[in-house]
């Protein structure tokens, strides 16, 4: 029994990371109707920037703040200089341009850090395990759960409680209307895109001590993020959270029951959700 409890807690940890990974993709889609195939590339950059800063001797907490800011800035620039110019075209060009961007980022990472993966050490304070009676759990993973939970609340507050958030939510309904009300939607687009890139990078930083950094983690993450968004419902914050947790727990529990099939199961779970609820668990009808 205990092993299943452990796997469920593990799954929650993975699921919170999946949520962080997917939430940016989902919000960007909700607002801009833009599928970002380069979203995994921001996650990849997060993990490698984290590795690089730790190599330079930075402490983990500083990394946790600076890397998302840096990647967020990259996202902001990308949106301003490039993606903005294809918003009006057919959606295949949204996809092709971001697929191209993802390839460029991946190859630059390989040029800079080599094709093999590297490990990132767990910060000293968070090494070791926590014990509650018979329940033993790694400190770092517990930290990830707590930290992402706080972040989730913060993000929720930004979306629900601030002027920016209400502009984003209104923009998801009708960009033209928001624009007519005198709000500069293009500034909001850039900001939201930067926020999406930063959250993906943060997921990369948090994942690095758990799974290391390797050049193809971006593509893998993109697949997972799509599943989470499709399961939860596109453009929905709650959907990303629910989808992330669901997929995390399914993957984690299945990895004890049927290790080879754990990754397969998350895609089967997705297909099942879609057959029963085509717009995702919490998605609106288009």
């Amino acid at each position: 029994m205990n092993i299943y409890l452990l796997q469920v807690v593990n799954g929650v940890g993975i699921g919170m990371l999946y949520f962080l990974l997917a939430v940016g993709l989902s919000i960007v889609f909700g607002l801009l109707r833009f599928v970002n195939f380069a979203h995994g590339a921001f996650y990849l950059l997060g993990a490698y920037f984290c590795y690089q800063m730790m190599e330079w001797g930075s402490n983990f907490w500083l990394t946790l703040v600076l890397v998302p800011l840096a990647v967020g800035a990259i996202g902001w620039l990308t949106e301003k200089l490039m993606l903005r110019h294809v918003y009006d075209t057919a959606h295949e060009f949204h996809i092709v341009i971001t697929v191209g961007l993802a390839l460029v980022v991946q190859e630059l990472v390989i040029l800079q850090w080599g094709p093999l993966g590297t490990n990132v050490a767990v910060p000293d304070v968070l090494q070791g395990v926590v014990m509650w009676g018979s329940f033993i759990y790694p400190k770092y993973r517990l930290f990830v759960i707590g930290f992402t939970a706080v972040l989730a609340v913060l993000l929720w507050w930004v979306l629900e409680g601030t002027r920016l958030g209400s502009a984003v939510r209104a923009g998801s309904e009708s960009t033209e209307m928001v624009s007519l009300l005198g709000i500069n939607v293009f500034r909001i687009f850039s900001l939201v895109f930067a926020l999406g890139a930063a959250t993906a990078a943060l997921a990369g930083v948090l994942a690095a001590p758990i799974r290391g950094a390797e050049p193809f983690m971006g593509i893998e993450a993109l697949g997972v993020a799509f599943v989470v968004v499709v399961v939860g419902g596109m453009g929905s914050f709650g959907g990303a959270l629910l989808g992330g947790l669901l997929i995390g727990v399914v993957q984690s529990v299945m990895s004890t029951l049927w290790p080879e099939g754990a990754r397969l199961m998350i895609y089967i779970a997705m297909a099942a959700v879609l057959l029963l609820r085509p717009n995702g668990l919490l998605g609106r009808k288009e």
Binding site: E92, V96, L108, L111
Partner: protein
């Protein structure tokens, strides 16, 4: 005359490649991926469906021919037909689920199917060989009544076979795209709501387009497995789907011959660049960004506008 221009262009490519290229395998690859890209184009350019799941049908085709040629004593043409059928069947399944959604949701679904297929292929080692793939696929000659009609042993002999299959498929696809069915697909692409309002069964039309696309892509996968002698797991990977889509977009959507151009461009530059620089994908990424920003009609569109400009200049000179 105009009706046959594209077919003649395709024929010219088929006939010219042996004159200019040293490697028969590379030439075969151009045609094989040309087939796959045409399958993708039927969805993207003619029906308005962007499918990231073409690797599923490609992989199904290569696994099917590998299994039939190594384990069951089926004659090769039959094995090829079986691979086509499997591609079509896979497309029917993926299509049946995916066409319930539109736009981006649809794209993500096809991508998720591609991932699912990859993990199935990875897990089912008894059938697919898992990570190792299926090896030692023979390339039997075409035998009729005990007489060897056509040996496929050498790369150029195999090229001849691929070329014949390719031209036949090109002709058939062109016929399909110009039939009433093909015109109706264009109507779905241009204005889905209106096509639906007129009374067309959108889901059925899309499903049919999917099945044809899957059949062609399955054929391409089977030919690829015969060419290389292996059916690797990578044929079922995300990367394969992406590559097929990229060829289609670089060539130009909505024109079958453009897909052949896209395939030739991709296969030949990949072959050339990858020998020069292992990080050539970086350049491909830049090309994709450039195509999306400035060359949305692809190579075909570029050639077309250059041709038009030249012609109008010539006409002015005559005046």
């Amino acid at each position: 005359m105009k009706n046959n221009t594209h077919f003649l262009l395709a024929l010219a490519v088929v006939l010219l490649m042996p004159a200019f290229m040293q490697s028969g395998s590379l030439a075969s690859e151009v045609l094989i991926f040309g087939l796959a890209a045409m399958g993708c184009n039927l969805l993207l350019g003619f029906t308005g469906l962007l499918s990231f799941g073409q690797g599923v049908f490609f992989g199904l085709g290569s696994y099917t021919i590998a299994l039939t040629l190594t384990r069951w004593p089926l004659p090769m043409p039959l094995a090829l037909l079986l691979a086509i059928a499997m591609g079509a069947l896979g497309a029917a399944v993926v299509g049946w689920v995916a066409i319930r959604q539109k736009g981006t949701y649809f794209v993500m679904l096809t991508l998720a199917f591609a991932q699912m297929f990859y993990f199935i292929a990875y897990t089912a080692t008894g059938i697919t060989g898992g990570d190792n793939g299926l090896l030692d696929i023979p390339r039997p000659s075409i035998v009729v009544l005990g007489q060897t009609l056509w040996s496929l042993a050498s790369p150029w002999q195999f090229y001849g076979f691929v070329a014949a299959v390719f031209l036949f498929a090109f002709w058939l696809l062109q016929k399909v795209s110009r039939s009433t069915f093909g015109r109706t697909l264009l109507a779905v692409r241009d204005n889905e709501e209106r096509a639906g309002a007129i009374g067309y069964n959108l889901k059925l039309l899309k499903l049919q387009a999917f099945v044809i696309s899957g059949a062609v892509t399955g054929l391409a996968g089977a030919l690829h497995a015969m060419m290389t002698g292996i059916a690797p797991l990578s044929n079922a990977e995300y990367h394969t789907s992406e590559m097929i889509l990229v060829m289609t977009v670089i060539g130009g959507a909505g024109n079958l011959f453009a897909s052949v151009l896209g395939s030739a461009f991709y296969v030949l530059t990949a072959d050339w660049l990858s020998s020069l620089w292992p990080r050539w994908l970086l350049l491909l990424g830049l090309v994709l960004m450039a195509v999306s920003l400035w060359m949305q009609r692809g190579l075909w569109g570029l050639g077309d506008s250059v041709w038009r400009r030249l012609r109008s200049k010539l006409e002015k000179m005559h005046e």
